[in-house]
Subunit: 251 residues, 2 copies
């Protein structure tokens, strides 16, 4: 069983939460893969360089200059610092973008309704055998949220999507974990004691009907079921300091 | 036989010379490894970010902010763009720093005569088996001039040194090529028709005695013979647009 664990940029920006997470990640036994976001670091760097960040519906527009910044920050700074830091914890990490080994291809998202997100990639092809070769040889892939196009340029890609695509490419002996700042899926978003420990397709219908799951959690859970449909055994949504806990989503 | 080819940052900064080089590199048959420098891009980025570049005897002092910049520029931007671009030329490239797979360890250069170069790494340990695993599986490592320390931080390391260490770790079935802006070792630095096609240890003594080889070329050739002493079959010093030509240095 391979564990694919996704960590958001927010956790990595704070030293205490990053160290807590890395300690837990290092302790996960067996083959594993880490997918990381980049978060606000790219925005900060863009500001320092005087490059304007344009957002449409909460999504970053990636022009050429912004693409260079996310390539530097996600593919360079965040990825390589994570890799170096994991080695001191006994994790034989190897940093990757989708371009490395050509393992995750994408196409530039087409312009739709007049909206052009720029150099943003929609994943088209994933070579799970490449990751498997690394994992079988004892390495732990650490994946930055960048893919590439067959025209030879890099593309900015959502880290949740990369995590799902990665897990799917390794199916069926794979579990996927999304770590964030909350305990998991909560009945009451403000009360961590209302954690829902387990969601099946059946119970999800009821949670939706009762309006208990709403807003940004819906696409997260929909994505989880999509991954399960593609052969992933289970998907966990949990706090970054509690990798074995949270909400587990299964068929 | 594995070809280890080192390309300077200067060649990569110019689009025409970069494309010419990449076309030639793609055409090299058999297993191969690319080592790249970063050149002035890091200096330009430091200027844009308002970070002062301090040089001592022509060498960059790498403070914490400068280390972050070279990590972004060498490990992120330059490395990943090269990797993506090589894939469109049919080269199954995979970008690496020394931290990835933990294959090239270094120690922070000790302070000597009061001079502290900061986060600059002297290579201590190279895992050639890691590169060989990638090469045996059909991948082409593309190596950025960054190593890492066992304390978990990255270190800025001279690309020529990385190329020599890489070649040595793959000895004896390995050839090393240094590409730069000149045709090779010249009798008259201003006249490319005076290329010395072949230097042996014997002929080198004579070239030194006659004052034909001097200045910055001496450490280059000394390094070449050091690599040969460590089992590398031959070292070539040549123009980036003529990978089969230039000066060959052999025992």
């Amino acid at each position: 069983m391979i564990q694919v664990i996704k960590i958001g940029g927010g956790i990595l920006e704070n030293e205490a939460s990053r160290e807590m997470f890395l300690r837990q990640f290092a302790a996960v036994e067996g083959p594993k893969v880490l997918v990381h976001g980049g978060g606000r670091l790219a925005t900060t760097m863009a500001e320092r360089l005087g490059v304007k960040t344009q957002m449409i519906d909460g999504r970053r527009v990636t022009d050429k200059e912004t693409l260079d910044i996310v390539t530097m920050v996600y593919g360079g700074l965040v990825n390589k610092q994570l890799v170096a830091s994991l080695h001191t914890r006994g994790v034989n990490a190897i940093g990757l973008t989708g371009a490395d080994g050509g393992w995750m291809k994408a196409v530039k998202r087409p312009i739709k309704n007049g909206i052009d997100y720029g150099f943003v990639g929609d994943v088209t092809q994933v070579n799970g055998a490449f990751l498997r070769m690394l994992v079988d040889n004892g390495y732990v892939p650490v994946i930055a949220p960048l893919t590439y196009s067959q025209e030879g340029f890099l593309l900015n890609t959502n880290a949740d999507t990369i995590a799902s695509s990665t897990a799917t490419s390794l199916a069926p002996e794979v579990q996927l974990t999304f770590c964030f700042e909350k305990a998991g899926v909560l009945r009451d978003a403000d009360d961590e004691s209302t954690l829902i420990p387990r969601i099946t397709r059946e119970s999800y219908k009821q949670l939706l009907a009762d309006g208990i799951v709403s807003g940004g959690m819906i696409p997260k859970i929909d994505n989880a079921f999509a991954a399960i449909e593609h052969g992933v055994q289970s998907v966990r949504i949990t706090h970054a300091n509690n990798l074995q806990g949270g909400t587990i989503i299964i068929e």
